[in-house]
Amino acid sequence: MSTLALLLTQVVNALSQSALLFFLGVGLTLIFGIMRIVNFAHGALYMLGAFVGYSLAHWAGTFWLALVLAPLIVGAVGAAFELGILRRLYRRDASAFLLVTFGLALVVTEAVRLIWGPDALQVPAPKLFSGVVFLLGEPFPAYRLFLVAAGAVMAIAIWQALERTRLGLLIRATSQNAEMVHALGIDVNLVRSGVFGIGCGLAALGGVLAAPLVTASHAMASTVIIDAFVIVIIGGMGSFAGSLIGALLVGFVQVFGNYYLPDFALAFMYLLMLLVLVVRPGGLLGKEA
């Protein structure tokens, strides 16, 4: 394999990894921006997305339906959780949110074990992308290229939705001053439920998309939640562009670290985070320290 071909496959690998991480990070950062809470259940909802996707793909016989429906279902679960439980805690301090979202993570994890059993489940890639493509003569899984495209399309779609839609405007305004938005006649609680649901749905989208690569397993929750936190901290809590940059940085560090210095791959991610925090304590695009 030529050096150039190797480099290219690693870059595409890293981009596909970044795409998956982006779905996690962007939801987490949107939720933090609006609600000032860290959603500990984010990894569990990512996993739930993968399992729901598995069942839907088997039931419907097509991955595409799972890709659309699983995020909607998990998003609805998230919105219902906000409506039923989180909403009662807004006057409490941050530790209440940590405990209750951690509780949600445990409940979701156990529910998945009860419903789908203890084993990892194979989710086949969609037929259209199950083959290989050749990058500079080297075979490469087409599905990873699809992930890169999906990540790019979603990043642009979310960015445009934030900039151009009414809901996007309200999300940005609420993240700057929720009380003022409320006093201008907007039911801020609705915005909060919506954003929590959207964030959870995006995590589930990442889970469905990851499933063909890594199988749907219980382990996926705990590994990705750390990655997601690192992304959000690097990019700056609450910053959309920050979550994109954070996902790209972490994706590249993980893939290249794993290839060249596998023993230190994990350490590199934390070193990166430390470096960013030393230079910019609020994250690359964060406001406050």
């Binding site: 940005r172 003022m180 409320h182 006093a183 006649g185």
Partner: protein
């Protein structure tokens, strides 16, 4: 239009509003003056639903709106220009206004507002944080007007503004009065309040202790100043 009776508000153990009574007739401007910390801002926040009263009643056109959620108070027709303006710093001028435009504005559409405040018209794409204090104040007023309010609550609009900008502010407030907007003006700037208000009220320790029309107020100004307003 807006009527407040026996309003009481507590912050924890401190009794901030101790029975505020205030009548705001339709189409008029009522000014509330008073030293720092007597409860002027708390009065506005309580009307707006941002602070819960412990007793008393607030009615808008004879309909009780006491302890409604802020968005419900706003939708009933009360618009809020807070102390310190609280512009959204990362939104543009136009976006700041659009947040409050829940339905297409009839009386105060965007084009009219940008005409009313020419400096905002010139800076439509600027972010809130890039505006001067005076421009931010005008933007806060524009943001309130776009919801076509029945009542406008103006909390210390002249705070921190240069005299020339305060004069511009007075022009805008008079213009709003001519357009029929009912205004509750909280002010420390006595000259501004005197120049625009139909009725002046003075607040001391959570109560309205003195009310007068501008003429009587001017006649008694020296006594009022030494009795209620100087520290």
């Amino acid at each position: 239009m807006l009527s407040i009776r026996g309003l009481n508000t507590h912050y924890g153990a401190s009794h901030v509003l101790q029975g505020v009574d205030l009548e705001l007739p339709a189409g008029r401007i009522a000014a509330v003056l008073g030293r720092n910390g007597v409860g002027k801002t708390t009065t506005v926040k309580t009307i707006m639903g941002l602070v819960r009263p412990t007793a008393g009643e607030i009615a808008l056109e004879n309909r009780a709106i006491t302890a409604w959620a802020p968005h419900q108070v706003a939708r009933a027709g009360v618009a809020y220009v807070p102390e310190g303006r609280l512009i959204f710093p990362d939104l543009t001028v136009v976006e700041n206004i659009r947040v409050a435009e829940r339905t297409p504005a009839k009386a105060w559409p965007l084009e009219r507002l940008l005409g009313l405040f020419p400096s905002l018209g010139e800076r439509q794409r600027h972010k809130g944080a890039q505006l001067s204090g005076g421009e931010q104040q005008m933007l806060a007023i524009a943001r309130a007007l776009v919801s076509d309010p029945k009542v406008l609550l103006l909390d210390e609009p002249s705070q921190g503004l240069a005299p020339l900008v305060v004069r511009e502010l007075a022009r805008v407030i008079r213009l709003l009065r001519e357009a029929g907007v009912t205004i509750l003006l909280i002010e420390q700037n006595m000259k501004l309040a005197e120049a625009v208000a139909d009725a002046l009220h003075i607040m001391v320790k959570g109560r309205i202790v003195y009310s007068a029309d501008p003429e009587r107020f001017r006649n008694e100004e020296a006594q009022i100043r030494s009795r209620y307003l100087t520290v």
